[in-house]
Symmetry: D2
Subunit: 342 residues, 4 copies
């Protein structure tokens, strides 16, 4: 029997993407769709790429509307999920695509978000060591940030195999959908087409502590992350270029072996053949992750590069993948690994 | 039991797209993949968005390789399909995504393509009046050109309802994938990004006689088509803007009714609610068609606009839709109507 | 001695473009820069591509600030120019880049803009027959709309030579900067990249009566215009595809001769050699206009296509060109014909 | 009296850009234009954005054609410049926009380019300490690579002030024009639009030794560079994100002071106000460089980011700037600092 799913925040990009995936999921029936500023509107006017739901009306985001579902996806601005989740029964699977429950350290939360920490939920990045165990049967899931997804998958095998020094230097390019659907002048097409620019430089981006949390746990020692996000002229995709010092004596073969081992059985992560490099265009609209690594022997560094679709594997695909695990479905159900290219 | 399908020309854009769709088709098993210049190469190096087929090797395009399949998709340069098709048994469903068998008039063929006419096959645009009858059980199918798909669907209801004058004026913008994967300087990213330009202006584009053929058949009188294609800075999509004189006394309500009637039961064609206009971004990667019409009362013209994905509904999606009909499967099997947006 | 110029509305795209051009104009000194919502801000924060003016502060748009300049460029939302212009002396050259003073017919104005007509100023499209005479010495100039610039230049020679029928069918693709810098969801980069869509279909676009006005004046008879604008995924540029019936017996040579004659001495309009087609990328950032024509003998139509940069020749370049004429400077002073390509 | 300049390789992107700039240079007269495969063609067919030179015919690249000019710009594939330069008199200013004469270390050259070292010419990056002295009066100039220009300007002040550790980690995103105009499948618009991908990862990019050369010279100690270039979906621009360890105790104020001091009198380099970040869109078509720095105190690193136009400051603008110095002209003559934005 189909699982009944509601989506709170169905008018935004994360909400639209989770609906795109759920429409193709054979085990899910789509229930209530909510929005706040646009409650009452046809979904077709807001998400014209989802004709199957075009005549659905957005309802207000409240407990009454969200009641009676097996799964509730929250695609809300951070700070709003806790209040909604509290009103939903413990037996309901609540999947938060926002930031509220990702961090374990309350001080980190307050430092980066300025408010009180709401708690920590099982972390929806199944490929991380130990993650599936926590997701299995879970009824609360925190979906990782899009950048931490790309970066953690690019780097954790190097840390797991103890090949990398503790100071990670990361530059990532993101498509504009990562910045959301709220209209801001610097996100206008006129501004972003033909231009690349950084933001949140110098340690201030809110995804930084999440990367540190993930990588330090695997490394077994504190890892520092110097993270620079950049905005790229494309709607979707993250290309994460991650550089760490290679521990003395590490060889290219050892690095490759570590990644092959880490990803041998992962259905969504593709360590590319040598000589081929990730491209965000190849994972467009898919839940796949492309990874490639190089050892720069002159500079003594490992460069690990990943490409994901920020809205799919980076947000809604990761959410559905985690839902599948939590509900005991096949983890890959309803999730494409085929990209839409060119 | 699954139908076994081969794809000849699997390294190009049409070939890659038909594979993307077939991978999601529950009734198809993918057999031989062929290429000519790249026979022997891994598909993963040529179509990195199709990881499920990454280790497949391209074989040469010859009868031996293509034998033993239920369906053979031909994604070959025009002029090459007839020779291949002849070597395949009559019981094999051969679907030509090239131009060779689209035109009924041999003189038209010779005028636009300069060679001898190879023949005419059932035409794979199921939404056209009468088309499904010819496709049902067919073993040879000519997939329409991408522009004729967009234009015919935008205009035929107006002709069917006898609302439109016989001189159609059409401008269409196409994504660059319509020009194929062969490397030419004017198709470089540096050239096309940030630029729009026309080509084949003045009646010379090879899709023109195909539009005339489709529209005249529905109109019951000879229709002329003045067609201007333009190259747009996007990988996929066709936006066709079609303008015809409204017959005297025609009202906006009559126009709308004609389109509502024509598309009431079509699973892939969406006549948008009034006030909403097609966008190629909304049908990205999907087999859906968005249509909207307006009556310009001052100018006395009907403007019908359609948006499709040139590689999906415009090529490979139309091919799979036609295959479904020919094989007696549900017409929509394996074909997304959900676009990948934003 | 340098002419002193003020720009009202310096924070928007039209204002930024006129400043870009004036910075390279040897006869102009840039005076006051005004904005309303952003008065008090550094221009460098709003127009970071203009480092020479980075430390200038925006002042409020009022008569006191604008007083004491020889030229005042108005880059204001329509409806605001009249009030500002009234407060400036008659000896000041006021150049309105908005719509207020373009239309001659008050009823047209009210029909399309819904307010009372403010009047008509000399029309800043010097290439139109008779236009230079009105601009010479003028102290009030209405800069044409971007679409009417592209369309009028593409079509008027055909009407001037009496080669074309009175019903023009026009589709134009515009870069997103034509929609301005105000943040609206449908103009977000995520929405526009990879997508084309029409708007204002069916006769409702406000530039339509301006095209009718220009073409009818040259044709010597009423011309109708069916105009469909589309939004293209690029920041700048207009590609206008204009189709008119050829009068009986018209030959391709006659059409070409008409355009050669019309543009023989025009410094900014380039009728391309046969076989070469306009591309907006070739006129990026320049005041040049590329034009090419074809006679479709089968359909009996003339197709005239123009490419301009909507912000340069389509707005600020046209404004500076008109200023040069009004002030008795060489018409081409400070205006590039070289595009920034690729 | 005007300097007479020839351009060898006028049909490519570097050649086209140097012509764009020379057309606006008041002290230069454009002489012979050469190409090899396209000798005999009109420049207008190859560089349609340069209408002022549209009727010029390309001549073959040989000594006879290039003789009789004061300046010869070489925009040739690497390995071809030496043979041409030898045939030009010592009094002729030869400016090589290729790689042949950039490196001082012959072993580096052979390692990265596989051929014998041709020599070393004065290095055309005037902002580097000591560079102007070598360029003044020079008759042979090697224009830096586009990436080394962006990276060296972003980082040298930190090394000059002894604030940075010797291991630089750099990721740079480049527009596609950096890859040239030769048609290759992976550079097709269909492939690059909507996609980001790295290349030359792991120390193999040929610009790496040039960066090491520049930074080591300023640092007074050997600097290592781990450089990862990425291809971004835009025609022009480089955004270089450069990360180095801050030496113990270094403060944000010290970093800022070092950059303010380095760039106080530089006409083309703009250290942005705090809080504002470089964007390639802001320097589109200009010779300007935008720079911003941050000290990440948690990670202990300095992040220095620069934005340039790869074809202007990164190639042809740097060439013209160096020409101005060599010839004793004002260094800024003919070089825009205004970008074409949006």
């Amino acid at each position: 029997m189909a699982v009944r799913a509601a989506v709170a925040g169905a008018s935004g990009y994360a909400g639209g993407e989770v609906l795109r995936l759920l429409l193709a999921h054979p085990g899910v029936e789509i229930g209530a769709l909510t929005g706040n500023s646009n409650a009452g509107q046809r979904l077709g006017a807001l998400q014209p790429h989802l004709p199957a739901l075009g005549d659905r009306l957005l309802q207000p985001t409240d407990a009454e509307v969200l009641a009676g579902h097996d799964v509730v996806f929250l695609a809300l601005p951070h700070g709003q999920s806790a209040a909604v989740a509290e009103q939903l029964g413990e037996e309901v699977l609540v999947i938060d695509m926002g930031a509220d429950f990702r961090l374990k350290d309350a001080a980190d939360w307050t430092r980066f978000y300025g408010s009180e920490h709401a708690g920590t939920w099982p972390y929806g990045l199944p490929e991380l060591p130990g993650a599936r165990g926590e997701l299995d049967g879970a009824r609360r899931i925190a979906v990782p940030g899009c950048y931490p997804t790309a970066v953690s998958l690019a780097l954790f095998p190097a840390y797991q195999a103890r090949l990398a020094g503790p100071e990670a230097v990361i530059t990532a390019a993101s498509g504009t959908s990562g910045a959301g659907k709220a209209a801001k002048p610097h996100l206008l097409g006129s501004e972003v087409m033909g231009s690349m620019s950084p933001y949140g430089v110098g340690g201030g981006h809110r995804h930084t502590p999440e990367m540190i949390q993930n990588l330090s746990a695997v490394a077994g020692e504190p890892v520092t992350v110097s993270f620079t996000p950049t905005l790229a002229p494309m709607p979707r995709g993250i290309l994460a270029t991650c550089s760490v010092k290679a521990k003395p004596g590490v060889t290219a073969a050892e690095v490759r072996t570590a990644y092959e081992k880490a990803y041998a059985d992962e259905p969504f992560v593709h360590l590319l053949p040598e000589g081929q490099w990730p491209a965000t265009g190849s994972v467009y609209g898919s839940n796949a992750v492309q990874i490639q690594i190089a050892l720069d022997e002159t500079a003594g560094r490992i460069i690990a590069i990943s490409a994901i679709d920020n809205l799919t594997k980076g947000t809604a695909g990761g959410a559905v993948q985690s839902m599948n695990i939590a509900l005991g479905l096949d983890e890959t159900t309803g999730l494409p690994v085929t990209g839409v290219a060119p």
